[in-house]
Protein backbone atom coordinates (compact mmCIF):
# COMPACT_ATOMS: atom_id res chain seq x y z
CA UNK A 1 0.00 0.00 0.00
CA UNK A 2 1.52 3.31 -1.03
CA UNK A 3 1.53 6.38 1.18
CA UNK A 4 -0.99 8.26 -0.96
CA UNK A 5 -3.45 5.34 -0.94
CA UNK A 6 -3.17 5.05 2.84
CA UNK A 7 -3.57 8.82 3.20
CA UNK A 8 -6.71 8.89 1.05
CA UNK A 9 -8.17 5.91 2.90
CA UNK A 10 -7.39 7.30 6.36
CA UNK A 11 -8.89 10.63 5.30
CA UNK A 12 -12.12 9.02 4.08
CA UNK A 13 -12.43 6.98 7.27
CA UNK A 14 -11.70 9.97 9.52
CA UNK A 15 -14.35 12.11 7.84
CA UNK A 16 -16.94 9.31 8.01
CA UNK A 17 -16.06 8.67 11.66
CA UNK A 18 -16.83 12.32 12.41
CA UNK A 19 -20.06 12.54 10.42
CA UNK A 20 -21.26 8.89 10.25
CA UNK A 21 -23.47 10.04 7.38
CA UNK A 22 -22.88 7.12 5.01
CA UNK A 23 -23.18 4.29 7.54
CA UNK A 24 -26.24 5.77 9.29
CA UNK A 25 -28.18 6.46 6.10
CA UNK A 26 -27.37 3.02 4.68
CA UNK A 27 -28.18 1.21 7.89
CA UNK A 28 -31.63 2.74 8.31
CA UNK A 29 -32.49 2.21 4.67
CA UNK A 30 -31.33 -1.42 4.68
CA UNK A 31 -33.19 -2.09 7.94
CA UNK A 32 -36.37 -0.69 6.41
CA UNK A 33 -36.06 -2.90 3.34
CA UNK A 34 -35.39 -6.04 5.40
CA UNK A 35 -38.29 -5.36 7.76
CA UNK A 36 -40.72 -4.43 4.96
CA UNK A 37 -39.88 -7.59 2.99
CA UNK A 38 -40.34 -9.74 6.09
CA UNK A 39 -43.76 -8.17 6.68
CA UNK A 40 -44.76 -8.53 3.04
CA UNK A 41 -43.76 -12.20 2.66
CA UNK A 42 -44.01 -13.49 6.26
CA UNK A 43 -41.05 -15.81 5.54
CA UNK A 44 -40.74 -19.13 7.33
CA UNK A 45 -38.49 -22.22 6.97
CA UNK A 46 -37.53 -23.24 3.44
CA UNK A 47 -39.27 -20.26 1.83
CA UNK A 48 -37.26 -17.87 4.00
CA UNK A 49 -34.04 -19.55 2.89
CA UNK A 50 -35.15 -19.25 -0.77
CA UNK A 51 -35.71 -15.50 -0.66
CA UNK A 52 -33.27 -14.38 2.05
CA UNK A 53 -30.26 -14.17 -0.28
CA UNK A 54 -32.17 -11.99 -2.72
CA UNK A 55 -33.57 -9.72 -0.01
CA UNK A 56 -30.14 -9.22 1.56
CA UNK A 57 -28.53 -8.39 -1.79
CA UNK A 58 -31.31 -6.00 -2.85
CA UNK A 59 -31.29 -4.31 0.57
CA UNK A 60 -27.52 -3.86 0.27
CA UNK A 61 -27.84 -2.57 -3.29
CA UNK A 62 -30.52 0.02 -2.54
CA UNK A 63 -28.89 1.16 0.68
CA UNK A 64 -25.48 1.46 -0.99
CA UNK A 65 -26.78 3.64 -3.80
CA UNK A 66 -27.88 6.29 -1.32
CA UNK A 67 -24.32 6.42 0.07
CA UNK A 68 -22.56 6.01 -3.28
CA UNK A 69 -24.49 8.96 -4.65
CA UNK A 70 -22.79 11.03 -1.96
CA UNK A 71 -19.42 9.32 -2.37
CA UNK A 72 -17.78 12.35 -4.00
CA UNK A 73 -20.09 15.04 -2.54
CA UNK A 74 -17.49 16.34 -0.09
CA UNK A 75 -14.90 16.56 -2.83
CA UNK A 76 -17.27 18.53 -5.08
CA UNK A 77 -18.67 20.86 -2.39
CA UNK A 78 -15.66 23.16 -1.99
CA UNK A 79 -13.76 22.11 -5.12
CA UNK A 80 -11.57 19.79 -3.05
CA UNK A 81 -11.47 17.57 -6.12
CA UNK A 82 -9.63 20.30 -8.04
CA UNK A 83 -6.99 20.46 -5.30
CA UNK A 84 -6.67 16.68 -5.52
CA UNK A 85 -6.37 16.88 -9.31
CA UNK A 86 -3.56 19.42 -8.90
CA UNK A 87 -1.59 17.03 -6.66
CA UNK A 88 0.78 14.65 -8.43
CA UNK A 89 -0.31 11.51 -6.53
CA UNK A 90 -1.88 8.92 -8.88
CA UNK A 91 -5.64 9.31 -9.33
CA UNK A 92 -6.10 5.52 -9.29
CA UNK A 93 -5.06 5.48 -5.64
CA UNK A 94 -7.70 8.05 -4.80
CA UNK A 95 -10.30 5.84 -6.48
CA UNK A 96 -9.07 2.69 -4.77
CA UNK A 97 -9.10 4.38 -1.35
CA UNK A 98 -12.63 5.70 -1.88
CA UNK A 99 -13.82 2.24 -3.01
CA UNK A 100 -12.13 0.57 -0.03
CA UNK A 101 -13.74 3.06 2.35
CA UNK A 102 -17.17 2.46 0.80
CA UNK A 103 -16.55 -1.28 1.01
CA UNK A 104 -15.85 -0.96 4.73
CA UNK A 105 -18.99 1.14 5.27
CA UNK A 106 -21.23 -1.34 3.42
CA UNK A 107 -19.61 -4.28 5.22
CA UNK A 108 -20.27 -2.63 8.59
CA UNK A 109 -23.92 -2.22 7.61
CA UNK A 110 -24.10 -5.88 6.56
CA UNK A 111 -22.59 -6.97 9.86
CA UNK A 112 -25.09 -4.89 11.83
CA UNK A 113 -27.88 -6.17 9.62
CA UNK A 114 -27.00 -9.87 10.04
CA UNK A 115 -28.62 -10.49 13.47
CA UNK A 116 -31.76 -8.59 12.47
CA UNK A 117 -31.92 -10.67 9.34
CA UNK A 118 -31.60 -13.96 11.21
CA UNK A 119 -34.39 -12.96 13.60
CA UNK A 120 -36.87 -11.60 11.06
CA UNK A 121 -36.40 -14.46 8.59
CA UNK A 122 -35.99 -17.31 11.12
CA UNK A 123 -32.96 -18.43 9.15
CA UNK A 124 -31.07 -21.68 9.54
CA UNK A 125 -28.23 -22.15 7.10
CA UNK A 126 -28.37 -25.60 5.40
CA UNK A 127 -25.13 -25.31 3.37
CA UNK A 128 -21.58 -24.19 4.21
CA UNK A 129 -22.38 -20.99 6.11
CA UNK A 130 -18.75 -19.81 6.12
CA UNK A 131 -18.95 -19.38 2.34
CA UNK A 132 -21.19 -16.37 2.96
CA UNK A 133 -18.06 -14.69 4.33
CA UNK A 134 -16.64 -15.04 0.82
CA UNK A 135 -19.74 -14.34 -1.26
CA UNK A 136 -20.89 -11.19 0.52
CA UNK A 137 -17.53 -9.36 0.37
CA UNK A 138 -17.06 -10.36 -3.28
CA UNK A 139 -20.53 -9.10 -4.22
CA UNK A 140 -20.12 -5.99 -2.08
CA UNK A 141 -16.80 -5.17 -3.75
CA UNK A 142 -18.43 -5.53 -7.18
CA UNK A 143 -21.07 -3.05 -6.08
CA UNK A 144 -18.82 -0.44 -4.48
CA UNK A 145 -16.05 -0.57 -7.09
CA UNK A 146 -18.57 0.07 -9.88
CA UNK A 147 -20.62 2.46 -7.75
CA UNK A 148 -17.61 4.57 -6.78
CA UNK A 149 -16.44 4.70 -10.40
CA UNK A 150 -19.83 5.62 -11.87
CA UNK A 151 -20.48 8.13 -9.07
CA UNK A 152 -17.28 9.87 -10.19
CA UNK A 153 -18.42 9.63 -13.80
CA UNK A 154 -21.70 11.36 -13.00
CA UNK A 155 -20.43 14.14 -10.70
CA UNK A 156 -20.56 16.75 -13.45
CA UNK A 157 -24.14 15.83 -14.32
CA UNK A 158 -27.02 17.87 -12.96
CA UNK A 159 -29.10 14.68 -12.54
CA UNK A 160 -26.33 12.67 -10.94
CA UNK A 161 -28.59 11.15 -8.25
CA UNK A 162 -30.75 9.66 -11.00
CA UNK A 163 -27.88 8.89 -13.33
CA UNK A 164 -25.94 6.66 -10.93
CA UNK A 165 -28.60 3.95 -10.48
CA UNK A 166 -29.42 4.14 -14.20
CA UNK A 167 -25.82 3.28 -15.08
CA UNK A 168 -24.95 1.11 -12.10
CA UNK A 169 -27.92 -1.25 -11.90
CA UNK A 170 -27.68 -2.75 -15.43
CA UNK A 171 -23.92 -3.20 -15.16
CA UNK A 172 -24.24 -4.76 -11.72
CA UNK A 173 -26.84 -7.34 -12.85
CA UNK A 174 -24.35 -10.19 -13.53
CA UNK A 175 -22.73 -9.70 -10.12
CA UNK A 176 -26.13 -9.35 -8.44
CA UNK A 177 -27.34 -12.61 -9.98
CA UNK A 178 -24.15 -14.41 -8.97
CA UNK A 179 -24.36 -12.99 -5.45
CA UNK A 180 -28.04 -13.92 -5.00
CA UNK A 181 -27.66 -17.41 -6.48
CA UNK A 182 -24.52 -18.13 -4.47
CA UNK A 183 -26.14 -16.89 -1.23
CA UNK A 184 -29.32 -18.89 -1.93
CA UNK A 185 -27.25 -22.03 -2.68
CA UNK A 186 -25.46 -21.65 0.62
CA UNK A 187 -28.62 -20.95 2.63
CA UNK A 188 -30.63 -23.81 1.13
CA UNK A 189 -27.73 -26.24 0.70
CA UNK A 190 -29.38 -27.49 -2.50
CA UNK A 191 -26.62 -26.71 -4.99
CA UNK A 192 -22.92 -25.90 -5.24
CA UNK A 193 -22.19 -22.15 -5.20
CA UNK A 194 -18.67 -22.58 -6.67
CA UNK A 195 -19.62 -21.45 -10.19
CA UNK A 196 -21.24 -18.25 -8.89
CA UNK A 197 -18.29 -17.51 -6.63
CA UNK A 198 -15.91 -17.89 -9.59
CA UNK A 199 -18.12 -15.57 -11.62
CA UNK A 200 -17.98 -12.98 -8.84
CA UNK A 201 -14.19 -13.23 -8.65
CA UNK A 202 -13.90 -12.77 -12.43
CA UNK A 203 -16.34 -9.85 -12.41
CA UNK A 204 -14.45 -8.14 -9.58
CA UNK A 205 -11.08 -8.51 -11.31
CA UNK A 206 -12.35 -7.19 -14.65
CA UNK A 207 -14.31 -4.22 -13.34
CA UNK A 208 -11.74 -3.21 -10.71
CA UNK A 209 -9.00 -3.23 -13.35
CA UNK A 210 -11.11 -1.21 -15.79
CA UNK A 211 -12.01 1.32 -13.10
CA UNK A 212 -8.39 1.75 -12.03
CA UNK A 213 -7.24 2.23 -15.61
CA UNK A 214 -10.02 4.63 -16.61
CA UNK A 215 -10.38 6.67 -13.42
CA UNK A 216 -7.81 9.27 -14.41
CA UNK A 217 -9.73 9.94 -17.63
CA UNK A 218 -13.01 10.24 -15.73
CA UNK A 219 -11.50 12.55 -13.14
CA UNK A 220 -10.11 14.94 -15.72
CA UNK A 221 -13.03 14.81 -18.15
CA UNK A 222 -14.65 18.18 -18.90
Amino acid sequence: MTRALWTHLANNLRIEWRSREAVNSMLFFALLVVVLFSLAFDPEGAFARQIAGGVLCVATLFASVSALNQAWAREIRHQVLDAQRMAPAPAAEMFLAKALANFLFVSIVQLLLAPVFLVFYNLRVEGDGWLLLLVLPLGTWALVANGTFFAALSIRSRNRELLLPLILFPIFIPALLAMVLAATSILTGESDPALWIKLLVGYDIIFTTLSLVLFDVVLNAE
Binding site: R3, A4, T7, N11, R14, I15, R18, S19, R74, R77, H78, Q79, V80, D82, A83, Q84, R85, M86, A87, P88, A89, N220, E222
Partner: protein, 227 residues
Amino acid sequence: MNAQPPEAADRTLCARLDRVSRLFGAFAALRQVSVDFARGRCYVLVGENGAGKSTLLRILAGLLRPSAGAARVFGALDPQAERARIGYMSHAPMLYDELTAEENLLYFASLYPGRACLTPSEALRQVGLDPDLKRILGQYSQGMRQRASLARVLLPVPELLLLDEPFSNMDQESARQMVAMLANFRHSDRTIVLTTHQRELAAPIADWVLTLHAGRVASFEPGKAAR
Protein backbone atom coordinates in the same frame (compact mmCIF):
# COMPACT_ATOMS: atom_id res chain seq x y z
CA MET B 1 -4.48 41.48 -29.02
CA ASN B 2 -1.18 39.65 -28.72
CA ALA B 3 0.12 40.73 -25.35
CA GLN B 4 3.85 40.26 -24.91
CA PRO B 5 5.57 42.15 -22.12
CA PRO B 6 8.90 43.30 -23.59
CA GLU B 7 10.90 41.61 -20.84
CA ALA B 8 9.40 38.14 -21.35
CA ALA B 9 11.81 37.21 -24.09
CA ASP B 10 14.79 38.21 -21.96
CA ARG B 11 13.89 36.23 -18.90
CA THR B 12 13.19 32.56 -18.56
CA LEU B 13 9.62 31.96 -19.53
CA CYS B 14 7.31 30.48 -16.92
CA ALA B 15 4.11 30.09 -18.93
CA ARG B 16 2.83 31.00 -22.37
CA LEU B 17 -0.68 31.21 -23.76
CA ASP B 18 -0.65 31.08 -27.53
CA ARG B 19 -3.92 32.19 -29.20
CA VAL B 20 -5.92 30.40 -26.51
CA SER B 21 -9.69 30.29 -26.85
CA ARG B 22 -12.06 28.55 -24.51
CA LEU B 23 -15.69 27.86 -25.31
CA PHE B 24 -18.44 26.77 -22.90
CA GLY B 25 -21.13 25.67 -25.34
CA ALA B 26 -21.71 28.71 -27.52
CA PHE B 27 -20.17 31.11 -24.99
CA ALA B 28 -16.56 32.12 -25.60
CA ALA B 29 -14.93 32.75 -22.21
CA LEU B 30 -11.54 33.40 -23.82
CA ARG B 31 -10.88 34.50 -27.41
CA GLN B 32 -7.46 34.19 -29.01
CA VAL B 33 -5.56 35.22 -25.89
CA SER B 34 -1.77 35.27 -26.19
CA VAL B 35 0.26 36.15 -23.12
CA ASP B 36 3.77 35.34 -21.90
CA PHE B 37 4.42 35.07 -18.17
CA ALA B 38 8.03 35.57 -17.09
CA ARG B 39 9.53 33.95 -14.01
CA GLY B 40 9.71 35.96 -10.83
CA ARG B 41 7.04 38.43 -11.85
CA CYS B 42 3.59 39.19 -10.50
CA TYR B 43 0.76 39.53 -13.00
CA VAL B 44 -2.53 41.02 -11.87
CA LEU B 45 -5.58 40.13 -13.96
CA VAL B 46 -8.45 42.57 -13.81
CA GLY B 47 -11.73 42.83 -15.65
CA GLU B 48 -15.44 42.71 -15.07
CA ASN B 49 -17.30 39.54 -14.08
CA GLY B 50 -17.31 37.06 -16.95
CA ALA B 51 -14.26 38.63 -18.60
CA GLY B 52 -12.44 35.28 -18.55
CA LYS B 53 -10.03 35.76 -15.62
CA SER B 54 -10.90 32.55 -13.78
CA THR B 55 -10.95 30.57 -17.03
CA LEU B 56 -7.46 31.83 -17.84
CA LEU B 57 -6.20 30.72 -14.42
CA ARG B 58 -7.83 27.30 -14.72
CA ILE B 59 -6.21 26.78 -18.11
CA LEU B 60 -2.79 27.69 -16.67
CA ALA B 61 -3.47 25.26 -13.81
CA GLY B 62 -4.31 22.49 -16.28
CA LEU B 63 -7.81 22.12 -14.85
CA LEU B 64 -9.34 23.22 -18.17
CA ARG B 65 -8.11 22.52 -21.66
CA PRO B 66 -8.16 25.28 -24.27
CA SER B 67 -10.74 24.80 -27.04
CA ALA B 68 -8.15 26.23 -29.43
CA GLY B 69 -4.56 27.41 -29.11
CA ALA B 70 -1.90 26.15 -26.74
CA ALA B 71 -1.05 26.69 -23.08
CA ARG B 72 2.52 25.91 -22.06
CA VAL B 73 3.65 25.92 -18.46
CA PHE B 74 7.35 25.36 -17.69
CA GLY B 75 7.67 24.30 -21.32
CA ALA B 76 5.09 21.51 -21.08
CA LEU B 77 2.17 21.61 -23.49
CA ASP B 78 -0.02 19.95 -20.86
CA PRO B 79 0.18 22.00 -17.64
CA GLN B 80 -1.07 18.94 -15.72
CA ALA B 81 2.33 17.36 -16.38
CA GLU B 82 3.89 20.11 -14.27
CA ARG B 83 1.13 20.32 -11.68
CA ALA B 84 3.43 19.66 -8.73
CA ARG B 85 5.11 23.00 -9.49
CA ILE B 86 1.82 24.91 -9.72
CA GLY B 87 -0.24 26.19 -6.82
CA TYR B 88 -3.86 27.06 -7.57
CA MET B 89 -6.27 28.83 -5.25
CA SER B 90 -9.90 29.14 -6.27
CA HIS B 91 -12.91 31.10 -4.94
CA ALA B 92 -13.80 27.98 -2.92
CA PRO B 93 -11.47 26.91 -0.09
CA MET B 94 -10.67 23.54 -1.75
CA LEU B 95 -10.39 21.98 1.71
CA TYR B 96 -12.51 19.56 3.73
CA ASP B 97 -14.91 21.24 6.15
CA GLU B 98 -14.82 18.21 8.45
CA LEU B 99 -11.06 18.44 9.13
CA THR B 100 -8.95 20.98 10.98
CA ALA B 101 -6.62 23.16 8.93
CA GLU B 102 -3.64 21.12 10.08
CA GLU B 103 -5.32 17.82 9.17
CA ASN B 104 -6.20 19.21 5.75
CA LEU B 105 -2.63 20.31 5.14
CA LEU B 106 -1.15 17.02 6.37
CA TYR B 107 -3.44 15.23 3.95
CA PHE B 108 -2.50 17.38 0.96
CA ALA B 109 1.23 17.35 1.80
CA SER B 110 1.23 13.57 1.54
CA LEU B 111 -0.15 13.81 -2.01
CA TYR B 112 3.13 15.40 -3.14
CA PRO B 113 5.51 12.43 -2.93
CA GLY B 114 9.14 13.36 -3.47
CA ARG B 115 8.52 17.10 -3.15
CA ALA B 116 9.97 19.01 -0.20
CA CYS B 117 6.80 20.53 1.23
CA LEU B 118 6.50 22.99 4.06
CA THR B 119 5.24 21.52 7.30
CA PRO B 120 1.56 22.36 8.01
CA SER B 121 2.67 24.55 10.93
CA GLU B 122 5.04 26.54 8.71
CA ALA B 123 2.39 27.02 6.04
CA LEU B 124 -0.22 28.09 8.58
CA ARG B 125 2.14 30.55 10.27
CA GLN B 126 3.00 32.05 6.87
CA VAL B 127 -0.63 32.97 6.34
CA GLY B 128 -1.13 34.19 9.89
CA LEU B 129 -3.14 31.25 11.23
CA ASP B 130 -2.52 29.56 14.56
CA PRO B 131 -1.29 25.98 13.90
CA ASP B 132 -2.60 24.91 17.30
CA LEU B 133 -6.18 25.85 16.47
CA LYS B 134 -8.15 22.60 16.75
CA ARG B 135 -11.40 23.82 15.21
CA ILE B 136 -12.60 22.08 12.06
CA LEU B 137 -12.59 24.22 8.94
CA GLY B 138 -16.39 24.29 8.81
CA GLN B 139 -16.26 26.50 11.91
CA TYR B 140 -13.81 29.01 10.41
CA SER B 141 -14.81 32.48 9.22
CA GLN B 142 -14.61 33.15 5.47
CA GLY B 143 -11.39 35.10 5.89
CA MET B 144 -9.78 32.30 7.89
CA ARG B 145 -10.83 29.77 5.28
CA GLN B 146 -9.23 31.94 2.64
CA ARG B 147 -5.97 31.94 4.61
CA ALA B 148 -6.14 28.18 5.14
CA SER B 149 -6.71 27.79 1.40
CA LEU B 150 -3.61 29.87 0.70
CA ALA B 151 -1.66 27.75 3.18
CA ARG B 152 -2.63 24.67 1.16
CA VAL B 153 -1.39 26.35 -2.01
CA LEU B 154 1.93 27.32 -0.39
CA LEU B 155 2.48 23.85 1.08
CA PRO B 156 4.36 22.27 -1.88
CA VAL B 157 6.35 25.49 -2.41
CA PRO B 158 5.03 26.06 -5.94
CA GLU B 159 7.01 27.93 -8.57
CA LEU B 160 3.88 29.31 -10.21
CA LEU B 161 1.15 30.64 -7.95
CA LEU B 162 -2.33 31.07 -9.46
CA LEU B 163 -4.68 32.94 -7.16
CA ASP B 164 -8.31 33.56 -8.02
CA GLU B 165 -9.65 36.51 -5.99
CA PRO B 166 -7.34 35.92 -3.02
CA PHE B 167 -8.52 39.07 -1.20
CA SER B 168 -12.25 38.39 -1.35
CA ASN B 169 -13.89 37.97 2.09
CA MET B 170 -10.85 39.53 3.75
CA ASP B 171 -10.73 42.67 5.82
CA GLN B 172 -8.31 45.39 4.67
CA GLU B 173 -5.63 44.56 7.24
CA SER B 174 -5.65 40.83 6.45
CA ALA B 175 -5.53 41.60 2.73
CA ARG B 176 -2.50 43.88 3.25
CA GLN B 177 -0.79 41.11 5.23
CA MET B 178 -1.44 38.73 2.37
CA VAL B 179 0.01 41.21 -0.13
CA ALA B 180 3.15 41.53 2.01
CA MET B 181 3.45 37.76 2.09
CA LEU B 182 3.02 37.53 -1.67
CA ALA B 183 5.70 40.19 -2.12
CA ASN B 184 8.15 37.91 -0.27
CA PHE B 185 7.06 35.02 -2.43
CA ARG B 186 7.71 37.02 -5.59
CA HIS B 187 11.19 38.01 -4.39
CA SER B 188 12.12 34.34 -4.27
CA ASP B 189 11.93 34.30 -8.09
CA ARG B 190 8.54 32.66 -8.22
CA THR B 191 5.74 33.74 -10.49
CA ILE B 192 2.35 34.98 -9.32
CA VAL B 193 -0.74 35.36 -11.47
CA LEU B 194 -3.71 36.66 -9.52
CA THR B 195 -7.15 37.94 -10.37
CA THR B 196 -8.83 40.63 -8.35
CA HIS B 197 -11.52 43.26 -8.38
CA GLN B 198 -9.51 45.21 -5.80
CA ARG B 199 -6.77 46.43 -8.11
CA GLU B 200 -5.43 48.95 -5.61
CA LEU B 201 -4.73 46.18 -3.07
CA ALA B 202 -2.53 44.22 -5.47
CA ALA B 203 -0.88 47.34 -6.93
CA PRO B 204 2.24 47.25 -4.68
CA ILE B 205 3.28 43.84 -6.02
CA ALA B 206 2.02 44.10 -9.61
CA ASP B 207 4.77 43.95 -12.25
CA TRP B 208 2.14 43.79 -14.97
CA VAL B 209 -1.56 44.49 -15.02
CA LEU B 210 -3.52 42.55 -17.61
CA THR B 211 -7.04 43.73 -18.32
CA LEU B 212 -9.46 41.27 -19.85
CA HIS B 213 -12.67 42.33 -21.52
CA ALA B 214 -15.19 39.86 -22.95
CA GLY B 215 -12.55 37.14 -23.19
CA ARG B 216 -9.95 39.30 -24.93
CA VAL B 217 -6.86 41.08 -23.66
CA ALA B 218 -7.88 44.74 -23.55
CA SER B 219 -4.59 46.06 -22.17
CA PHE B 220 -1.28 44.90 -20.77
CA GLU B 221 0.43 47.62 -18.76
CA PRO B 222 3.41 47.76 -16.40
CA GLY B 223 2.39 47.88 -12.75
CA LYS B 224 3.78 49.87 -9.86
CA ALA B 225 6.26 47.18 -8.94
CA ALA B 226 7.62 46.79 -12.48
CA ARG B 227 11.37 46.25 -12.38
